[in-house]
Symmetry: D2
């Protein structure tokens, strides 16, 4: 019998998509969906295109906590208490919030609030499979990465590991689904349509997460990171401007990336700058690397679907690893030429 | 000294645009803006592109009622009481709501609610200048038409006057600004983007307004009217499918429309089906007429900007007429070849 | 060994999508792609998101004709000669063009040109599985329906079969991919963005196809059909305004549709007007039916993805039937509650 | 009698818009429009919303060269020979191409081709009024700036003049109209919709223009400049990441910009990051400046309408200056609080 899984907080964009992916996943049994709003509505009433005929239920831990795994799609800060209770019951958890991404509760407190479950931080694994695949396999609690960190870290990891990043500026562009389902002036069609603008300037909450992971890869830099809203639904592009520390220049740049990602089923290299259309509704991150000889910089682009690889399909990828399933089960195409990794 | 005018309810899309048009209008002095939300914010903070450096104030009739004219942009039902008070002070009013469009308070009650100022209905003039220009000149209270009725009536008036409409179906498409500024699931970018769907089926509130005016033109028909939401900001297209009552066919169809609109500064005829881009940010209605010989029907398309000719610029056109100014003052281009009508 | 299949004309939108669906289809072996333009380019260079690592080759019938099945995605008129040659070799063909949809070559000649392979018309089956499932199973040549006829016929079939359609007007809205891949003034982003307009007025080429099939269902009517271009990528909505012939009114309308489509895996009924987002990237047609008691009409909406159910995934659905495979093989989700039909 | 002006190359986006602005301009007489394509079509047939009832004529210098002023909207390289002939006739010219923007013909040759009229370069004035207003007044030949340089230079000029720019990276986002009217795979709706991607990497042609003008302002830096295409029609945002050379930090940053632009009628400062909607269809550049204390950088955003301030309305602004007219004649709103500058 396949492991059972419930989604907590399934009314939002990422929770709902996770529910869809799990509902069609041959390797899991989707058990229940809970939500903090829209209780009693069916998910396929709110999101007909997901075609998940489940009712959104009010949280009842006794009933809903009796599963093998949980995906928690609660807002930052609200997730930690629920995760804590699920862990007490022995449920393996993938948490989509930021609550367990930062190793240092003081840093978390600075960008969010006092941490509600600091005792769980040490045991949490940062759920970027391309970085922590082995740790994820055995993990009980996964902190699923933010969408911007996912794209940025995949873009920069080979350079960070090579120890050549002196400085980096990341200019990110995200579709409006990244702002969440809650209606607001910002997400109103008439505000976002025919528009593009920066937000979260100068200090977006994803910065400490990016810097923490770059540091762990060998690049202890301060990152300038500026996200922009662009008039599209799903998709995210990061444009990374890297000043190299070495004098060697660009020798071996292509080989560096080719080696890093040769066996990665969901990281694709491209000669041309990727577009977010290229990865829409996939778990794939598409990357291109360009030396700028005039300025001595390297420019790296990475495109993902913010709801997929940036959240829901990466959560399922993590679940696949945790439960020893094929890494690409239930999350669609892998890039070509990759040996399918089956545990 | 130019007549003074205030806009009541200037935080919404149509009120704010009216404020912009009047602010730059050489023939009026914009005095004040009131709003029921966002009080204390400046209009150019909410809508930078309108560039109206006025604060949104809480309504104070003693202060704000001391003007020559008022544009009321309140929701249906909420407008009538305010209009009533403004009229008591002798202020000439253009009301953007539906409150004074229907001649019969019983019909109003059926589609909206009990009418709050039935005594004012008889004196109100339906503010479609192409139909009631002379009455508008002397009017004290204008019921500014709905966006859908504006386009539909301009599309059908020549046929209605000719007495040849037996039956008509109107399939309308509107940009999202037509749904108003209030954020909701419907107006969320992620709902409207890459989507198109009907709403208000089978009976939209604009139907009695359309039928009343068609009847007055000589076409006592029941109209099937279905609006659709399309993923664009401003713009509205009505596609009218007319069954003719006479057997004469299509002789003289072009001449009928050419005669009807030859001297109209804001009605443009086109050989090709008009697009809403053609009239964006103008007071112009662009129309094309097509006989369908296979089925014996006539197809008429009319495109307007729902916020301009469908609301704000038509309100200013009415104000221009009421105060004896040039009809196109402050509302931009007229079609070519029209003698500018100056009183 | 699974049957082999090649796609002829794979550079266009529908051919390329068919190639993608077949490339991932467990029941077919995609053998080759030919194209009349872009020869030598790889399909995943033109369409990265399809991830089909095949080169577009120049047509060489000796090489490419040695397959069990062919999908032909040539322009109208150009398809017939190629289909003819493929049939001579015994290849089973699904033709995406209009060349074999019309039973009467004289009608074809009137709307297109002199037919190039009239001898094949009689043997062709119109590939709408919800109408001709049994005939498709044994067919050697399938005329894959047009996108507009697919949506329109699924919307109207229950009423047509019931013999109650007296008259019908179809107002259709299509995304820009329906205009094909060839760049033109019409498909330029700046033309289509923030726009909506009718085209092909008053007589679009899909009309005879719609009328032929309505007639065969028992509704010999002349259809007014007007397509509109809306600013979105993929998706198509038809709004059908039906005048009923009987006096019985609307009794049993819901039951009529529920019965008609209870067992159809790809036809979904909805209480609310469907949006094209609801069916994006699926083979599903989503329908809602609304009596308009004021006018005595019935309004039916049907939404499809024009590239999927309107072309490519319907072609694969037909191939599945032709080769005795599961009808939904390789084409994604079916609606809920349907028993999966496996041969 | 107002000065006469013709537009050469009026079929493209920027030429056509220039024609519209001049056609409605009270201070000029629009004499004729020429075009290299679409000859014989009327401009209001191609662009109904511009409402310019002029025919596009084949170039006939004897006829069309008899004007006081010319706007040339030819492609780079094709403009210089025509400009040369117009200057021989004494016509004052605003050239929208890049042909006279670069002071050094060797640099021009490196990025474009051998220069066709090098003798005219010295006499040309770079038409950025906020930088060269006085020289423009007396100029006979204006090199109208590129859209990206316009926004970038207005964003950076105060810092450049202050001598504090050590390094700068510019990440630019442009609507699709920036790619021109010519239909192509890049400008196809289905390519650009729901997409965002970089192009012209690593070296876009606007770089030497930006560097030349920054140098002349006191900032001899090498610029990393990367443009991106975003799915909207008109609008351009540049995000500038500036490393400061001084150690003083951010003291006086706001005052620096406030002083620089206090009297500029078309440069607006904002506390929040500007959106391109804020400046749509205006000649206004909207700028915000943000210190990033974590990294010691300054981030500057500037939004313009690429077709207006980035091309056509800036050309008219230049014509206004050249002919001693009010600088804002015919080009719409100025920002608030600015004394209108009338010569």
């Amino acid at each position: 019998m396949p492991p059972s899984v419930s989604v907590f907080g399934a009314a939002g964009f990422t929770g709902a998509l996770t529910a869809r992916l799990l509902h069609r996943h041959p390797g899991f049994e989707l058990r229940a969906l809970t939500a903090r709003s829209d209780q009693g509505r069916r998910l396929d009433d709110i999101y007909p295109h997901h075609r998940v005929p489940f009712e959104l239920e009010e949280l009842d831990l006794d009933r809903h906590g009796d599963v093998d795994a949980a995906v928690v799609a609660y807002p930052h800060g609200a997730a930690a208490p629920l995760v804590s209770k699920l862990r007490e019951r022995g449920v393996r958890v993938v948490d989509l919030s930021a609550d367990f991404r930062l190793r240092d509760p003081a840093v978390y407190a600075q960008w969010y609030r006092e941490h509600q479950a600091p005792g769980l931080i040490d045991g949490a694994v940062y759920g970027l499979p391309e970085r922590y695949r082995e740790q994820i396999r055995g993990a009980e609690l996964i902190a699923n990465p933010g969408c911007y960190p996912t794209a940025t870290l995949l873009a920069l990891a080979p350079l960070a590991r090579a120890g050549v990043i002196e400085d980096v500026i990341v200019d990110a562009k995200s579709g409006v689904s990244g702002a969440g389902r809650s209606p607001s002036e910002k997400t109103h069609f008439v505000t976002a349509d025919e528009n593009v603008n920066a937000y979260g300037v100068p200090a977006h909450r994803h910065i400490p997460e990016i810097e923490q992971e770059l540091r762990s890869l060998g690049a202890p830099v301060r990152v300038t990171f500026v996200p922009h809203l662009v008039p599209l639904d799903q998709g995210e592009l990061v444009s990374c401007y890297v000043t190299l520390s070495g004098a060697d220049g660009f020798e071996g740049l292509d080989a560096l990336y080719a080696d890093a990602y040769a066996d990665e089923p969901f990281v694709e290299l491209s000669d041309r700058p990727p577009g977010v259309r290229d990865v829409r509704e996939t778990n794939i991150c598409r990357i291109s690397v360009h030396p700028d000889e005039r300025t001595g910089r390297v420019i790296v682009f990475a495109a993902i679907d913010n709801l997929w690889k940036g959240a829901a399909s990466q959560a399922v990828q993590n679940l696949n690893l945790m439960f020893g399933l094929s890494e690409h089960g239930g999350i669609g195409p892998v890039k070509h030429g990759v040996r399918e990794v089956v545990s």
